[in-house]
Amino acid sequence: MRYLPHTKEDIQSMLEVTGHKTLENLFDSIPQDLKSKNGINIPEAISEWDLNAHMEHLASDNIACRDYKCFIGAGSYDHYIPAIVPYLISRSEFMTAYTPYQPEISQGTLQGIYEFQTMVTHLLGMDIATASHYDGGTALAEAALISLRTHKTANTVAVSRLTHPSHRQIVDTYLRPTQFKVIEIPCTEDGITDLKALEAMEDLAGICVQSPNFLGNIEDLEKVRQIATDKKAMMVASFTEAMAYGLLKNPGSLGADIVAGEGQSLGISKSFGGPGLGLLAGTKKQMRNLPGRLIGKTTDVKGRPGYVLTLATREQHIRREKASSNICSNNGLCAMTAGIYMATVGKIGMRKIAQLNHNKAIYLKKTLIESGLTPAFDVPFFNEFVMKVPEGFDQMRRNLIEEQCIFAGLDLEPYYPELKGHYLFCATETVSKEDIDYLAKEVQS
């Protein structure tokens, strides 16, 4: 949107048309006591030169991952973004956050999102994927609502304690004011969801388990499937690290009814925590239950291929009272970004990057053990894992940030008080062997 201020002449000619003497007269209808007497308290205008200097000064207070070595994931991952991705999404044809309101005129955007949907279904092993949601947390909340709408009697969803804490908070925010209930599935000492405890839970509409979970550990989704089937509940698999499915068996092949997760890893920069990309996919059976929108491919009267809004969001157009969600928006630009990223790296590339992540994480864990940290769990992981740290680690970690520009893991205590003295580490393809060796040396000393 352009911002073009009015000149004095513009204002004068408009006042002549409206028949007011001064600009003040135009606002005469506003009662005096509602008007601000001292004007608005903002500084005087400054030159573009000074403004740029001011903004750069403010920006220099930020800590951007680009300038640091980041050994933290926890829902936001530092992956390499090929130059073609920001180049293509910056094109003016794509540079909008929305599915256009007269969608069929924007064939390029629709084709891009159609291809994004197709690649998401391949990545997650599902039949159908939506054109995106705000982030992993809102996608998970929508998944929980689908299970509740579908189930005839139960009004409770069970969410694993090892689901990302922010995602759990979002689900809770969605469901707390309603008649629905959220209960937490506890975790075991091995750092995985306590499926025995889940088996003892009754009257569930949905079971939500994240894998790899917040502690980086891979969950037994096959077992979750069995339990969900026994309980006639819907199995919702969630994730924060989409890259994991370059290597791991995807949730669809393990029987998930719905998959919800965060797609930030697919070419979207961390940007201080957002915007993310909510991925939501289901089986064909869920098609009419999925919120949001779906782009489809068809042919025109001459038999040429074309793209259409196949399932338009009911929240926006007809039958609002039957809406499956109260959110009509999506993250079109981020979906396009993820689509371009996946098309760029391809299936084989995705697998190679995922393998690289896993290999580096294994190497990081090994070197940290040699440096005196203790592994907290002995469970398969992808690119994140938890280490128990010795006394004094916290201070050393702070020094590393300030003096060496290294983020050495995430303190888990604020999220899981029982994990006091435990840190979550992550290694992606962006850290080198030298970076890992350097960190290990610092930790050892």
């Binding site: 005839k152 009419r288 007809i318 039958r319 039957k322």
Partner: protein
Amino acid sequence: MKELNDLNLPEDVRYTEDHEWTKASGDHVIVGISDYAQDQLGEIVFVELPEVGDSFSQGDEFGSVESVKAVSEIYLPISGEIAEINESLEDAPELVNESCYEKGWLVKIKPSDASQMDNLMDKTAYLDMLKG
């Protein structure tokens, strides 16, 4: 769209104000939408039906019919339990357009009170209602 006098309105079914029809068949009653309803809706692309075993009261919404023009709720003409649904509509919803009283039926129900059939319209009453 058809003229009212051209509508196919069989004598052996009962009609509702919401344009469903129903007909006894052994212990069950069959339910569908009338020729008028399918004609007004136009090309039907999806029929949403309940599951076998679900119970409804007379007048309850039990699903929806979606055409290229609109989505319309469908209401059960008499109370009962869903005994069977027309599964062929999942892949061929156009059957409702092509054969709304035969191949395009929607559900079969086990009525809880078959006498409710008596308060539905016959062909003459239904046609009168359509003519206003």
